[in-house]
Symmetry: C2
Subunit: 193 residues, 2 copies
DNA sequence: CCCCAATTTAGATGATCATCTAATTAGATG
DNA sequence: CATCTAATTAGATGATCATCTAAATTGGGG
């Protein structure tokens, strides 16, 4: 029930063309040109919109010869549409975790070397979150990063960039979409920092 | 279950700031400055977002002294979130009405004077829709009209502009928002024209 | 192996929109 | 009525995004 996922779902659905595509696909699968004709738009425009619908997982495709048919996943649509009703439920309330500043400081002191590198990823959840938040400081707000850039950045501190990158996304420090990464607002983080 | 209403709902909800406001208001009413503080934004920004949330009817306000408290209408939120699941249902399928071209022609001939003015608004639904569609030809796609402009336009044909304006919106020829009017795509019209 | 049809990518354009600052309005209170 | 506080409006700026054309790609089939 990540906030960012909910936002993105509604952003994608909040467009007349895409709603009309959803509406058409409810009646059954269609291929790109058919959609383009029915809506009076050019094929590239359909590609553009369908890509977004696939991105939020409510449309998938099957190929038959040269023609690609698009299908609507109605179950997924329903689940996504209802997600907004759950935000703020107990399990999602922030701050999930209340950690004293002095505790944060000691975690940072213990897990980082004097040269700034991370000695080890804490296994204890609270401590891990502190480390993740500390590491993410160098990520710029609003900037969209390639996966490679993220990896390079993390390598400054620790060799296992894949784990840290994954943990960032899992714990809502960052938002991942299409292999691009972006810093989440602090309100989404699982702790104050 | 108008398409344009559904689109607008999702467009409004598809923004991180507004989702966060919804999330806050779930816990109880808040006034503008409180929201601004919690989100780290300026009051005008909150006014802007709350206006949109009110526009789709999921937020309302109550005044206490100088302070205005904003409330979340959770029932409305739920209903709106689910509306997308109903689009394309039998009752909403287009073309709702299949009218032969020659019938359209005769309706236009019967209800319009030779000078182009509308003699009378048909009471029979099918004929009324034909007249409404015929009248709306002069409205430009994509252009946003003030109510006054719409009235002036209709007066060319008929004195009772209020009724025709209202019928246009009710029958999805036009979309009304904040006293501004805009032509709907033909796919939303209740008949082919 | 070359051609054909369907789709996708790249890049440009114009529109929409979130946010801010500065100025204004709306009530309440002394 | 003067003043204070909360809210709103106006207008500017920068970012995002829907759509198009032109070009590239993909995967058959002769």
């Amino acid at each position: 029930m990540q906030l960012d996922k909910v936002v993105n779902f509604h952003k994608v659905v909040g467009d007349p063309t895409r709603i009309r595509i959803i509406s058409l696909l409810k009646l059954g699968p269609l291929h790109g040109q058919a959609i383009a004709n029915k809506l009076g738009l050019k094929p590239p425009t359909i590609t553009h919109h369908v890509a977004k619908l696939k991105q939020i997982g409510i449309v998938y495709q099957r190929r038959d010869k040269n023609t690609i048919y698009f299908y609507l996943d109605q179950k997924k649509l329903k689940a996504s549409a209802n997600a907004i009703l759950q935000i703020g439920e107990v399990t999602n309330v922030r701050p999930e975790m209340n950690i004293e500043d002095k505790d944060k400081l000691s975690v940072v002191k213990n897990f980082f070397d004097t040269d700034g590198s991370l000695k080890q990823i804490p296994s204890q959840r609270k401590k891990k979150l502190v480390v993740l938040a500390y590491l993410v400081r160098g990520i710029e707000t609003g900037k969209v990063y390639e996966e490679k850039e993220i990896n390079e950045y993390i390598k400054q501190f620790h060799e296992d960039y894949a784990t840290i990158r994954r943990e960032w996304v899992m714990n809502h420090f960052m938002y991942r979409e299409n292999n691009k990464y972006e810093l989440n607002p602090k309100e989404m983080w699982p702790l104050e920092f």
